[in-house]
């Protein structure tokens, strides 16, 4: 395949960015999107130009590091996968592909396609855990959990923290991300003890960090590579409401 690329280049956080046009040739349709980017970079390096900076690591869809906005969609045109699992067979020969970083105020661009997502770490630090220290816990089977609840908790826990939900949202809301963590623990008996505090702290932190509000467009769910459901947002709203009135 031969492709034209329009890629966002930005030297640093404070620099002004712009789109730069590139071309790649003879790309196998079996190659992954990031392998296509590797070939572009290899080509740039050979020409003595600076390669395009982008985040990636595990390249199997689980670490949540890759984060490209491709043709107007986080993680590109395929559904339920990350950029690293996107394959070139999803594109047409001769197509022009526009590649941008996540665009959201709480995720500033650091260089080219790399953004700073430390706001997500701060959200978890605000209460996205069960306060248990190592040791001194009961036998694992002393806390039975219904299979249904365990499965729902796992559905929520599958979040990889990539930030596609925020990038997809016109308000840059982190509701799907926060609600996934709140839900996971609200569904499990182990998490119930701190449930009220957790939801309030995490929601307050989300506002502090400049994430926007949820206006129920469900773009987050549509673009989530792990198909995290917006029912988690409903569950979090319920948890938040109960915490406020009790």
């Amino acid at each position: 395949m031969d492709l034209k690329l329009k890629i966002w280049r930005q030297a640093s956080r404070d620099a002004k960015g712009k789109f730069v046009d590139y071309e790649v040739h003879n790309i196998s349709s079996d190659a992954s999107f990031l392998e296509m980017m590797d070939l572009l970079n290899e080509d740039l390096v050979e020409k003595g130009e600076e390669p395009v900076a982008f985040d990636h690591d595990c390249r199997e869809g689980i670490c949540g590091m890759c984060s490209l906005f491709i043709n107007g969609r986080p993680h590109g045109p395929d559904s339920a996968i990350t950029t690293c699992q996107l394959h070139m067979r999803k594109f047409k020969d001769g197509e022009t592909i526009v590649i941008e970083p996540w665009r959201a105020k709480p995720f500033p661009v650091i260089k080219d396609l790399i953004v700073d997502r430390s706001a997500f770490d701060e959200l978890i630090q605000a209460g996205g855990y069960i306060s248990v220290s190592t040791g001194g816990v009961p036998d694992a089977n002393a806390i039975p959990v219904s299979r249904e609840k365990a499965e729902l908790a796992m559905d929520a826990a599958a979040c990889i923290g990539c930030g596609a939900c925020v990038a997809a949202c016109k308000n840059a809301s982190a509701m799907l991300f926060v609600s996934a963590k709140v839900s996971q623990f609200a569904l499990l008996p182990q998490g119930k003890i701190e449930a009220k505090e957790r939801v309030q702290k995490m929601v307050a932190k989300m506002d502090d960090l400049g994430f926007g509000n949820c206006t129920n467009t469900y773009a987050c769910e549509a673009e989530c590579p792990k198909e995290i459901s917006v029912t988690n947002i409903a569950r979090m709203n319920r948890e938040f409401f109960v915490a406020k009135i009790s």
Binding site: D38, P51, A53, R59, E60, I114, I124, V132, G135, I160
Partner: protein, 649 residues
């Protein structure tokens, strides 16, 4: 010659850890606040250790290479974690888990360490459940188990096909709690480039590169824990994450830490086959698939040829013309033989011409029978995400046609030499998880890496490190102003300047790929004297070429991905040679190390316990000089040594 003291406690095997804990030295709460610890890596071992040490009251600095501790490569482990809970009541015990692990490792691991691993396995499951890890459950609400290779009991706990992710997020939660509390300080996008050892021989700090600014930074502490994972990326193509590297362990080796059993590398049998030379990594399909999938190739050579040419498909081959070679060769364990055995058997069939796929370097993993027996729903519930991943990558539906798989580099059993306390021969330098060598011998069983990472991080390091730190309370604050820090930092800067100044014509990746080919062809699934000697020469030549002709564009300040890669490949070009040397010296076959000269008539690995029942701990003696070999004899006090046999129970 370095002195090897494994510090194995006295007493019966089952009593050693208890006795150790009873007599170890402790640090009082008031003193803990004055003691600083550096942790390199935030995977299961590093993340769990940093969180636990923070909870105890130590001042911890934790470093990760990614933008968040949640992205460490432990996250990619799929299938599960072993523990000897015996919840299914199928006869499991701590001793049996221990024995399966030591036997699976072909009796090349240290007895006391491996036993302790099995001993703390149950605590790990308790801990993770308390953290809210959503393990799979039975309808009654109790925890579910499945089987993994090398075991005849079901002892593997799992969270769908994302067990590593869920365990890591548990540790990340614990770590986040401590970061919030202020006991742990987090440094992201930092790569350790060197270890600082003081004149008195103690490890007191690290030099890192800030991957955002390019600045070289110094950090000091009373002790350093390295939990930076394995060095599988020396092969270029592996199941490892792209940034995983051997830098932290390799630079520690060059500062005097011993490197143990570098040639013990695990080749995982179930990965998606290589499909093109542009490929950047290989994707693992969990070993758990072997619970229900059956592995086969065509019985007839002409059928295999037709499949390779695309004239025939796997589903066209009638049942009687399929060779379920693992079930045929190993009736007692069938498709659940250990990884090294399954990998070699696949290679044997493919080398004989029976492989499938365009390249002929693949075998089928077929779910037809399981789907008929259990229904598609059950298979989807068990492996749904793995099947989806396969389909996205290969563009074939594994519910309808058999998967194609082939072995790939996955895990490194070798690593820095550590004693029973997980301390290297450099006082104050501890090593945990995949980065050390101690628990898996020559081959790791499935679902044991997660077990070891968390065992080291939650339950071993927090105890054993105290025993060392108890002596250190009078030392006071360690500064980074000393001449040792000065000297090491300068050496790191010089290394970077040298790389930037070469301005050659070969890209880093092209040299890395060439190294990968040398390694895979000669230091891979099967090895021989001639190939290993050739590999050593070729690696030396390639290293020379790298240092005279590599091309690193850009500046050393700020984000420079090519410079990052160049520093890692420079290490791999040395580490690869040590792996080849170790493989050459070990004139036997054991676990993942298969020397063609040492095999039975049936093609099974032939160990030589008489001459090689030891840990090979290599000592650095200078650049381009032959390393020195130290031997730690392996003594099995309470373990019957058997030839591994997966044919009969």
């Amino acid at each position: 010659m370095a002195k090897l003291d494994s510090k194995i406690p006295k007493g019966r095997l089952a009593e050693k850890w208890t006795l150790y804990k009873e007599y170890q030295k402790l640090v009082s709460p008031a003193n803990k606040r004055k003691i600083e610890i550096i942790v390199v890596g935030t995977g299961l071992a590093g993340g769990a250790a940093a969180a636990s040490l923070g909870e105890m009251g130590f001042k911890v600095k934790v470093f990760c290479i990614q933008d968040s501790p949640r992205r460490a490569h432990s996250i990619a482990a799929q299938g599960g974690i072993n523990a000897a809970k015996n919840y299914p009541n199928d006869g499991d015990t701590i001793y049996r888990l221990y024995y399966d692990t030591i036997k699976g490792g072909d009796y090349r691991a240290r007895e006391a360490n491996t036993y302790r691993l099995a001993e703390v396995s149950n605590n790990i499951i308790d801990q993770c459940v308390a953290q809210g890890v959503p393990f799979a459950r039975e309808y009654g609400g109790y925890l579910a188990n499945r089987s993994f290779g090398g075991a005849q009991v079901s002892r593997t706990f799992y969270a769908r096909g994302q067990t590593g992710q869920q365990l890591l997020l548990g540790a990340y939660g614990a770590l986040s709690k401590e970061i919030k509390k202020g006991s742990v300080e987090l440094y992201t996008r930092r790569e350790m480039l060197d270890l600082v050892v003081m004149k008195d021989g103690r490890a007191r700090g690290i030099i890192v590169r800030n991957l955002f600014t390019g600045e070289i930074e110094r950090y000091s502490a009373h002790a350093v824990l390295i939990a930076s994972g394995g060095y599988g990326n020396v092969f270029f193509l592996s199941t490892n994450a792209m940034t995983l590297n051997g830098g932290a362990v390799w630079q520690s080796y060059k500062r005097g830490a011993l490197f143990a059993n570098p040639c013990f590398v695990q080749i995982h049998p179930t990965c998606i086959p290589v499909h093109g030379d542009y490929q950047s990594k290989l994707t693992l399909m969990s070993e758990s698939l072997r619970n229900d999938g059956r592995i086969w190739v065509p019985k007839k050579l002409e059928d295999a040829k037709k499949i390779q040419k695309g004239e025939m498909k796997g589903i066209d081959i009638p049942e009687e013309d399929r060779d379920y070679y693992l079930e045929r060769r190993y009736p007692a364990f069938g498709n659940l033989v250990p990884r090294d055995v399954a990998s070699r058997a696949a290679k044997e069939r493919c080398d004989a011409g029976y492989g499938v796929g365009k390249t002929g370097l693949a075998v089928f993993l077929d779910f037809k029978d399981a789907i008929e027996r259990l229904g598609r729903d059950v298979i989807e519930a068990r492996y749904g995400n793995l099947f989806q991943m396969y389909e996205k990558i290969v563009d074939e539906n594994p519910y309808e046609v058999p998967m194609r798989i082939y072995p790939a580099i996955h895990y490194t059993m070798g690593g820095l030499w550590v004693d029973y306390e997980l301390q290297s021969n450099i006082p104050g330098l501890f090593v945990a998880g995949e980065a050390n060598f101690s628990d898996h011998g020559a081959n790791r069983l499935g679902a044991s890496a997660l077990m070891q990472g968390l065992a080291d991080g939650y339950f071993i390091i927090p105890f054993t490190m105290q025993n060392y730190l108890a002596d250190q309370i009078a030392v006071g604050e360690i500064t980074t102003d000393s001449e040792e820090f000065e000297k090491v930092e300068k050496e790191v800067k010089d290394r970077i300047d040298k790389l930037m100044s070469i301005k050659g014509t070969e890209t880093v990746d092209s040299i890395h790929k060439r190294l990968g080919h040398i390694m895979w062809d000669n230091v891979g699934m099967s090895r021989n004297k001639e190939g290993l000697e050739k590999a050593i020469e070729e690696i030396q030549a390639l290293r020379k070429e790298f240092w005279t002709n590599v091309k690193v564009p850009g500046k050393k300040d700020g984000i420079n991905l090519e410079l990052e890669k160049a520093l890692r490949v420079a290490d791999f070009l040395e580490l690869g040679e040590l792996m080849a040397r170790d493989a050459l010296h070990r004139e036997e076959s054991a676990g993942g190390h298969f020397r063609e000269e040492y095999q039975t008539e049936e093609g099974e690995a032939m160990r030589n316990d008489q001459d090689f029942m030891y840990v090979a701990a290599w000592e650095y003696t200078g650049d381009d000089k032959e390393p020195k070999l130290n031997k730690e004899k392996l003594v099995y006090e309470e373990t019957e040594i058997k030839q591994r046999n997966y044919k009969t129970a």
